[in-house]
Symmetry: C2
Subunit: 352 residues, 2 copies
Amino acid sequence: MVDSGAFERNLSTMAAVRPGTTLRPHVKAHKSTSLAAHQAARGHATFTCATPREVVGMAEAGVGTDLLLANETVDPVRLAAMAHAESATGAMVTVAIDSVETLDAARVAGIRHVLVDVNVGLPRCGIAPDRTADLAARAADAGLVVRGVMGYEGHLMAVKDRNDQRAKVLASMTTLVDCAHAVRRVVGDDASIVSAGGTGTFDLYDPVHSILGQINEVQAGSYALMDTHYGALSLPFEQALFVVGTVISRTIGSSEGSPSWAVVDIGLKSLGMDHGNPTIDGASVWFCSDEHTTFSPDDGAPVPHVGDRVFVRPAHVDPTVAMHTAMHVVDDARAGSDARVIEVWPVDLRGW
Amino acid sequence: MVDSGAFERNLSTMAAVRPGTTLRPHVKAHKSTSLAAHQAARGHATFTCATPREVVGMAEAGVGTDLLLANETVDPVRLAAMAHAESATGAMVTVAIDSVETLDAARVAGIRHVLVDVNVGLPRCGIAPDRTADLAARAADAGLVVRGVMGYEGHLMAVKDRNDQRAKVLASMTTLVDCAHAVRRVVGDDASIVSAGGTGTFDLYDPVHSILGQINEVQAGSYALMDTHYGALSLPFEQALFVVGTVISRTIGSSEGSPSWAVVDIGLKSLGMDHGNPTIDGASVWFCSDEHTTFSPDDGAPVPHVGDRVFVRPAHVDPTVAMHTAMHVVDDARAGSDARVIEVWPVDLRGW
């Protein structure tokens, strides 16, 4: 369930700070072309994807004119599907490369545009900074259009002290900007993209800062729906996503001091669990099972009854949404069971 | 990917200890009617389900003649769908109840058979033992057929010391057996089912033991495919399930002592994470992202190359399988990339 008001406010807040193409919204956080269409309506025409399926689905839905696979793949079938989506729909498709292998796989499959993915400190994908220009030169020699660089400082998204975070982001982005200039020296100034960041750092790329101002697009996704993990930071975005369950069992302690609890039919198969247990307002979550969450109300509040609806806040939005087939947008989540469904967004970009 | 040999050996091992209806295989662990058909071929005609969708899907596929929803629901649409599945297919459908509300919802929807779910120590669903007979009497008065009792001692599945586990299971099952007799006294001896347990306790219900011998069916599911969580116990079942990924990036430390790692395209959206990180043989898993797992080979072994296949062992099989649309059965997983796909099992019982 998506609270319409919180969602719209999140989109407004972000668009004010990162308007137009200075934000490249990440669709991995919601996997829904319907939700992405709302982001496009706010002026964002460029999108970030984590899977070929997300790229192809966005292109086929006609949402976004410039789609980036901010991830590596050597899968010839999926690369060819993305290349085909570009020629069939006119949406520009760009894929990240960080090695000769990913470059060659993209070229052979008919991909035309690439971004060089640079390791800016997160031990995951991304080429070593000192090899970036060489890979860009190889890509250009192979006939690919090198659009610039990206570097995801994912290890800095949840740094709680903002000054500490800003200093670390500046160090990472100094590396990325250096790489951007090195790439331009070898393939030309059209390689203008310098793409980075996420929800946790969205407002740190001060446009007038000599380095940070050169980050010309931010790949934020979670800001639209949020979760309790990002919610623990001091970000100006509201929790807009809930998994709504029904109480299926309750146990009332038979004597003073013996425990009481309720069970809601939301569990490990409806919640991304890598950031830990979900949250229920006014209650303590005990544990989750495949199809259950056991919880007890705080401070002696009454235990919900069988049949009562419970709003569960996931700890991590991206894997949670990926477990569901649709999001139901309501006018006002605070109305509880009286909330009215005003839109249904299929989660149509699941799979790979 | 499922290793055929390990899977078949797991089924043989289980069927030798719990033959026929003494096992009620739990389909929540695999959500596949094709896999369940293999269990049925081993002589198990009764199945356990966690969701109405699993019950309806099994009935429609004609797998199993006796399907138990070992879970509570008050959803009138889903209850009616299960009642309809029974009349349309002839498979007997039984649902667990643990309250007047779940009893009433089942009756109103046309459900004919129920099992009273008893709390045997896991703080989740299940009625208090001293109220079991009363609920059974109410169900019988309402015209429902009470088939017996169930009680899931899920809190005892992973007790590592087997003697300690046996003692605790005996205590829980003493409660359940007492309830079974109380129920028979009020509704008659046809209420013969005493259903409990899981993979972690499958062999503890000694048929000649005065109490444990009265547990006449075990609800085990994970034994068929296994995971690293259950694999850490001393159970005679083998890991048969892997998520197969492809290396999409590698970083080789530029100097002595600087780290090297590889990234495989399996992450939080392909792995149940509630039991922690997955495992890769011969390697250390660093962390998982939405679509990535970063890892490094142990003991100076070479870092895999981009394009190499990697077998990832999930920590928890149930939520992992629920993220995928199909399982590919291979003749011999040890053959690595040369393994031959001999069967494809759709994961056709996803959703609710």
